[in-house]
Symmetry: C3
Subunit: 267 residues, 3 copies
């Protein structure tokens, strides 16, 4: 039987995987904290001289180009090559793709030069990576016309990767199996880093489950359920964020089973 | 009729301007979050290869030398040149000026090589930039003798810029029109980043109002009112900070109109 | 009479020492905030061109290799040389030592090329620095066999430094005088940065007391007492962290005297 969202959360708590990040400097603390809150073990290391070695002690590698530089992307490639060699999943958040030519070019370099197992972004970012013509407004989400599910499935097939598009409804697909995750709360859009944290949560779940679209869907469901519970008594974005961490820490099987809304279709 | 502080906050919420930052690594998260809390859209990007392009999609540019390096200041100049070309306001926080020769030299380079529309610092930092002889103690405020308003007005005239000196009473002047803002709370001095966040709030307001000393005064009034409300039930600096974000998010016209204390004089 | 933990906290509050940091990018905000919460003055500066000058206005220097690069360690050396010349204490957090060859090599370079007054890490990190064979799992603590107190005392004697091993019981020794600190709470292990913050607290206390093992023990006792009080009403790691800062800010003599558990032995 397929594991449930809570089953995978429980695996993360039991196995405590090391999740190596080369991530956004804005949200690096929250990415580490969300992984630790899940019971896993974050490690943030970006020096060229050590990233390959650090990736060898990890069970997943999370890359995020939110505050990229040319050198930083080179370190990402070294880490990803090492992760590819070890066979651990590599998750890439194409944060801000479409905003500048540098972000587009470096996203494609990463996709072409190393094996990326999970590509994650919002609608406009993923559309840009797919070669669709959209313009990102800073790093905030932009409406994208067209069928997002079809876009995600096509990119997944092209790249032989799992593709995640986050939004009001999150999409997670490997091109054959597609999950729609209908959890979450609008206050998430008022907190910087909720997207980056989602990627880290996916990283932790991908470390314990080889069906990566399922892992990502379960990750987003648990994260979204925690957000829904957190929002109940939040007075604004900051108390919401504090409660989001506390709720994620305290998530139990009854709550996740009752509240998770994942819809799965097979090609 | 001149817009009120709340009018400008409302404009920020309606127009959701993109505010591009090259800022302090210590406080970068809070700078982004405060802009998002206002309803605007923060973008943090510092790679030489993209800063000019990113500034083109922004409505204001915020620079902060709090954790400067030589390379980082070069990226600031590229971003500022682009912002100048587009005609969007450039706000410079001279964080830590006076503490080291590097900070003094780089502050002056920025002031001399690009157009800085708003110069912002505490009393000792701004005094230093003006050529006054003071010594900053780390990045924390030091008493400065002399008439701070006169100092600000003189620097504004010299640099043809708006000058902001934050403190118990904030000063915002373009050399002709001077606003004193008497909002705020002493707990702000116990939270790292309240000064940097003030600069980001000014950036968001400057993006929607071309009278920059008015924009800055209104920004500081809204921010200070939120701090006063936040302090009411705070148990210490951390609960104060959480409440500051929540209060800023929830600010309404009645509260701002009733509590804002801006005094304006014309030359 | 020997000062108590609260006596030293009170000195920090009165003297407000400047604590210069070259620290971990993940936890840099919290390191600054914890120092400010104590009533001291944090300064974070890492540019090669200014670190030596900045160290001259400080009363303690805190180094942390958690997100090291080769260049960053070079800046640490410049800062430490300056601190050594001024005679202020230099505290080194060997964060992540044992995880990669780079961390081991750079830790030893720092220990050999500049004077490090306080070496601080968890059991596996300090064991690694001592030449013991252990493997760090990311930056999280690993069990280490053997007598940790003996390990700390031996390293202290070898390096003529104060050695701190943090854990369920913290050890602070200069090789002759050894303090065991039995304060703290398990929730600290669920919050990213509690170890880095401990180092910053030690830095602030070391700035006001020349008996460095005593300063460190008192620092860890105050920090641990605040954590115990904070944990009482915490709903999870995020509310715990908020309360930790608030409790540290509000610590009074009665609470610290009643709750502090420092056991001291003399060789």
């Amino acid at each position: 039987m397929r594991p449930t969202a809570y089953d995978l959360l429980d695996r993360v708590r039991q196995q405590k995987p090391v999740v190596h990040h080369l991530t956004n400097w804005v949200t690096i603390y929250d990415c580490a904290q969300v992984v630790k809150t899940l019971g896993a073990s974050p490690v943030m290391a970006h020096a060229r001289e050590e990233v390959a070695e650090m990736a060898q002690i990890a069970s997943a590698l999370v890359l995020n180009i939110g505050t990229l530089t040319v050198d930083f992307v080179e370190a990402m490639k070294l880490a990803a090559h090492s992760a590819n060699k070890k066979g651990i999943p590599v998750i890439l958040d194409v944060c801000g793709a479409g905003a500048t030519a540098l972000r587009d070019r470096k996203s494609l370099e990463l996709l072409n030069e190393v094996r990326i197992d999970v590509i994650k972004g919002n609608a406009s970012e993923v559309a840009r990576i797919s070669g669709e013509s959209v313009k990102t407004r800073g790093v905030d989400v932009t409406e994208v016309s067209g069928d997002l599910v079809a876009l995600a499935e096509k990119l997944a097939a092209q790249r032989k990767a799992t593709v995640i598009i986050t939004g009001k409804v999150d999409i997670a697909t490997d091109g054959r199996q597609t999950h729609l995750v209908k959890n979450g709360h609008p206050l998430m859009t008022r907190v910087v880093g909720t997207g980056c944290m989602a990627t880290s949560v996916i990283g932790a779940f991908a470390a314990v489950e080889s069906d990566l679209s399922l892992a990502a869907a379960c990750a987003l469901a648990c994260y979204g359920v925690a957000a829904e519970v957190a929002a109940e008594k939040a007075a604004g974005p900051a108390s919401f964020k504090e409660r989001l961490f506390d709720c994620l820490y305290n998530l139990d099987r009854e709550t996740v089973d009752r509240m998770q809304r994942i819809e799965t279709t097979q090609r």
